[in-house]
Every structure is written in C-alpha cells, then in structure tokens.
Symmetry: C2
Subunit: 115 residues, 2 copies
C-alpha cells in the first residue's frame, strides 16, 4: 500500500532527517525509519520508500553511512549506521537545516509591511 496523504515533506531535508535518526539510534533499517518518522511526527509526515531508499544509497555513496545486513525472521534487514565522517556531517547538516527552518518561520511570522 502506498499511503501518502500526510503533509508534504520539506524538500531537501530528507537526508538530514535520516542522519538525525541515526544520530539517535546508532543503527536502523529503512522500513524502521519510515515508521519512526510517522510515530515521531504523529503521522503528519510520511517518508515514502521510493524517496527513502535512493536517499540512503546516496548517503552510502558519499561515505556518510555504512551497512550491515542481517536475516531476521526469514526476512532481510539492511541496517544503516553513520560513519565517522557521517557523524561530523550530521552536526553540520542539522545546524544548517535548523537555521533555514528558522528563517522560513521568521518570514511566515513577519507581520509588518516592508517599506
């Protein structure tokens, strides 16, 4: 099922969100991330797998994540974790995204006309 009737993900923030999840958890697998985002945001945000997996693969290519694969209950699980480089980069990315979010909020909350 391809449920997606929740809020649009803020474009460009997906990779930072992934890295933040992994900063908190040390390792997670893709499907788990989609559930975690729904839970944390109370279903307001939904990461689709079609967006998630390419993003994960890109972060792997960039050397920011590494993987270990396990068999659990007969199903495959590919765990992702931050590399050393990834941990450093996570801090930078979270900071930049917070700044950007704040700027948008300042704009959205501005009351005065600009003369």
């Amino acid at each position: 099922m391809k449920t997606n009737e929740s809020n649009p993900v803020i474009k460009g923030s997906l990779s930072t969100i992934i890295m933040k999840l992994l900063e908190n958890n040390s390792r997670m697998y893709g499907y788990e991330m989609t559930k975690a985002v729904r839970e944390i945001t109370q279903n307001k945000m939904n990461i689709t797998e079609a967006a998630l997996y390419p993003a994960l693969h890109k972060l792997l290519d960039e050397g920011l994540l590494e993987t270990t694969t396990e068999q659990v209950d007969g199903r495959m699980r590919k765990y992702y974790a931050l590399t050393k480089k990834g941990k450093k980069e996570t801090i930078v990315k979270i900071d930049a995204l917070k700044d950007a979010l704040e700027s948008v909020q300042i704009l959205l909350n501005s009351k005065l006309g600009n003369e």
Copy 2:
C-alpha cells in the same frame, strides 16, 4: 551580480513565501521581494531572481496573483498582488507549511532512540 552564498532556501516553500509577503504588503514587485526576504532574514536567505520570476509566473497562471505594470523613474515595475482566490489559498498554504516545518523541527529535536 548573482550573489548567493547564504542558506539554501527550503525547497518547495518559495511560492508560500511570496504569498506571505503579498499578504503583508498588498502589492510588491519582484526585485522588491528579493530585497525584502534578505532584510527580514538578515541575509540568511536569498531568493534568486531565476527562482523568483518563474514562481511568480506560475502563481499568475494559477490565478492566485494578478499584475499591474508601472513606469517608475524610467524603469519598469511589475507589481504583483493576491487575487481573492490567492488570499484564501495563502492561508491554507501558510498553515500547511508551518505544520510541515514544525514536524521537521520535532524530528530534529527528538532525543530518544526509537524502540
């Protein structure tokens, strides 16, 4: 000059930002919007004209904005204003964007691992 060394704009939020500016000001021209955004965000965000004008034209096509052109000091100015439809849509869009921003912030501020 194509200055752009400020924060990346949160992708997908540009049209909402434009509409918010016009909610505050009743009418503005493009170049004025780029300056307003820099001023309000203290240079943290920069709307490039290459992103702005296509976005304005799209909002025009959707019937959310309307224009009036004036000659000021020998230079052309194309003023944009919200239509009735645009005013309604502005409220909806701002609300949706605020929700989305909040969800991202909740994610970025979440401290606990997800078990």
